[in-house]
């Protein structure tokens, strides 16, 4: 079943035409990776899903409901959680308070068990529970950002460049967790990355976004083998 259907979405920032008719489908239970160079419009697509900025035309359907007219907080309450680019944790608040903000819209009874689950997934958060989030390392902050998003018990998790600026060890850890969330917890994930190598390997399907348009689509292995993809996104990594 299609959880998310994006069809013909255009987004503008003033005169900048950032998305030029994007079509994308995410099925329930899969990981879809969107790769693209800097400025391709990946973050714009993520944010457009959340209604900031608003799309200029097209449709976004989540679980059969057109959500393109909704406000950000309403979209989030439909069951979509976003881990934004650059993590955007609340630096002056403690790790615990960050997690509480993630659960702000959930019933209070969920909080304890969910917290336990996060500790199991990210043991480091339990160790740092009362530390100010701004004092965590980049990798730990990314864990916190993911955990905070998960506290809302989303059906669909959007991750915007979760490996950006992380040490190699943490990059691997992040992708392991993405795989684990999907495999063991059935989480549906839309992942945006420049790190094509890791991201395509963990994904069921991948798409390549270039200058606001999807130019290639296939399963992860196909894209990894595609010469154009290799030339554009993999050679530089090696």
């Amino acid at each position: 079943m299609n959880m998310l259907e994006i069809s013909g979405v255009h987004t503008h920032y003033g005169h900048v035409h950032a998305l030029k008719g994007v079509d994308l489908v995410v099925r329930s239970g899969e990981i879809v990776t969107l790769i693209g160079a800097n400025g391709a419009g990946k973050s714009t697509l993520m944010m457009t899903l959340f209604g900031v900025p608003h799309l200029s035309s097209g449709r976004i359907v989540f679980e059969g409901e057109d959500i393109s007219g909704l406000k950000a907080h309403q979209i989030s309450r439909r069951g979509i959680a976003l881990v934004p680019e650059g993590r955007r944790i609340f630096p002056r608040m403690t790790v615990l308070e960050n997690l509480q903000m993630g659960a702000a819209m959930s019933p209070a009874a969920h909080f304890g068990p969910d917290l336990e689950r996060m500790f199991a997934l990210f043991p480091v958060l339990e160790e740092r529970l009362l530390q100010r989030a701004g004092t965590l390392s980049g990798g730990e902050q990314q864990m916190l950002a993911i955990a905070r998003a998960l506290m809302a018990r989303p059906k669909l998790l959007l991750l915007d460049e979760p490996s950006l600026g992380l040490a190699p060890l943490y990059i691997r850890r992040v992708f392991d967790i993405i795989g684990e969330l999907n495999r063991d917890h059935g989480m549906t994930i839309l992942l945006v990355e420049q790190n094509a190598h890791h991201a395509l390997r963990v994904a069921h399907r991948g798409l390549v976004l270039q200058q606001g348009k999807v130019v290639l689509e296939g399963n992860g292995q196909e894209l990894l083998a595609n010469p154009a993809v290799r030339a554009a996104y993999l050679e530089a990594d090696q």
Binding site: F50, V52, K71, A72, H73, S76, R77, A81, L82, V83, P84, R88, I89, F90, P91, R92, M93, T94, L96, E97, Q100, M101, G102, A104, M105, F111, G112, P113, L115, E116, E126, E127, L129, L130, Q131, R148, A149, A152
Partner: protein, 437 residues
């Protein structure tokens, strides 16, 4: 990131050298400000020296610096120890052991505030000044919600103070309402004005918001000056009734049979009784404010204020309705300002637009910033500094504002994040965690 590396304990020589420097600076500044004074001898001005006073000043700076340095080091030391402890402790979570020094200072200040009128019952000036300090504390706590917690820079806060004051003045003089009756109505009205300011400025941040709020404050003041039928214009409103003690007025016993406070309790009437009553009244209001804000901070909406200050986009992504959260901060802050305004009008008995000029807003904002944005105790310390400095500075006559400005600069150099930088987490341990084995 000063606190990451434990500072070496300073040797005595280093401490003395440090204090010596400060004393030297004090001497250089003190010569023109204190050492020399002009005296009107007959028909010409003669310059006199005041060496003893200058020496006292320098000595006070020297000792003060020693004490300050020492206590700051102690503070930093404790902080490091605590961090080390926290790092070592992995699983178990401390129940409520944080910030012993700050807690201790807070309780100590509260105790001092409670007994102050008893210690100075004969000294009206002290109690009066303390009342002023408390008004600013309450205003500071109110503005703290908007600026410190929600991160919305508001330069027109005095407008809400004015709304509260005028609301009480009008309700009491025109309709004969009492203090306690007017309080909720005036607070509600101020909150409404808060919404009226908040709604159009929802999309603004930082500088732009500051400019609009500044304008809002001025608009309110100008309306008060010009709408003479309502506000009395520049002449203001006089003979505002003073609050009574559960219906017992504070006045000299009279023949018309009115039961007075002094009469009811069989006391000798003295005008000081009202001063002390007003003091305890504002203390009560301020403490209620504090309790209320502290409680709010623990609720989701209160925590969302801080989250919005930190990152609005992240908040939206977490499903938080940024509009309601911001409006609630504006409304609540405004309400608290309005309540302080009611007290102000009742205490003064007379109000005019003069009392609600921009410099008031600036002072309240300075209290919040100087106190360390978001810190409740910091607001108290900053109010003490900002109200008492000009009072003490009266002896320095025309140098008063210079001294005031210098002190502000020094504080910002020493404590760039405000007097108390560290915010206290709203929640120390989640309930389900405590129950865990």
């Amino acid at each position: 990131m000063r606190a990451i590396f434990p500072r070496q304990a300073l040797s005595i020589a280093e401490r003395l050298r440090d204090a010596g420097w400060i004393a030297f600076v004090a001497l250089v500044l003190g010569v023109p400000m204190i050492g020399l004074t002009t005296v009107d001898a007959g028909n010409k001005l003669v310059v006199h020296t005041r060496l003893p006073l200058l020496m006292e000043f320098v000595a006070a700076c020297f000792l003060g610096r020693l004490a300050l340095r020492f206590s700051l080091d102690k503070f930093a030391q404790r902080k490091i120890e605590r961090q080390a402890q926290e790092a070592r402790r992995t699983v178990q979570i401390p129940a409520r052991s944080t910030l012993p020094l700050i807690k201790w200072l807070g309780w100590w200040l509260l105790g001092a505030a409670l007994v102050l009128p008893l210690m100075f019952s004969g000294n009206r000036y002290v109690v009066d000044t303390a009342t002023t300090v408390l008004i600013y504390v309450m205003l500071g706590w109110g503005l703290n919600v908007v600026v410190g917690l929600a991160g919305l820079l508001d330069l027109g806060y005095v407008a809400f103070y004015a709304v509260g004051a005028y609301a009480y003045a009008l309700l009491s003089t025109q309709f004969g309402w009492g203090f306690w009756q007017s309080l909720p109505v005036a607070g509600g009205l101020a909150a409404f004005f808060g919404l009226a300011l908040g709604w159009p400025t929802l999309r603004l941040r930082g500088d732009y918001l500051a400019i609009v709020t500044l304008g809002f404050g001025e608009i309110i003041r100008i309306i008060l000056v010009n709408w003479t039928e309502l506000s009395g214009g520049p002449n203001g409103i006089a003979s505002i009734p003073r609050p009574s003690f559960f219906g017992l007025p504070f006045q000299a016993p009279s023949d018309d049979g009115v039961q007075t406070f002094a009469g009811f309790f069989g006391l000798e009437y003295s005008p000081g009784q009202r001063v002390i009553f007003l003091y305890y009244l504002i203390l009560l209001l301020a403490l209620l404010t504090n309790l209320f804000v502290t409680r709010m901070r623990r609720l989701p909406v209160g925590r969302a204020w801080e989250a919005i200050r930190e990152d609005e986009i992240a908040c939206k992504a977490l499903g938080i309705n940024v509009v309601t959260v911001k409006l609630s901060a504006f409304a609540l802050g405004a309400m608290l300002g309005g309540l302080a305004g009611v007290f102000f009008a009742a205490r003064q008995g007379f109000i005019s637009p003069e009392s609600f000029v921009f410099s008031e807003s600036a002072t309240i904002l300075a209290i919040v910033v100087l106190g360390g944005m978001g810190s409740q105790l910091g607001v108290v310390l900053a109010s003490l500094v900002l109200v008492l400095l000009p009072e003490i500075g009266r002896d320095f006559a025309e140098y008063r504002m210079l001294l005031f400005g210098m002190a502000m600069i020094l504080i910002m150099v020493w404590r760039p994040g405000g007097l108390l930088v560290r915010r206290e987490p709203a929640i120390m341990a989640p309930a389900p965690m405590q129950a865990r084995p």
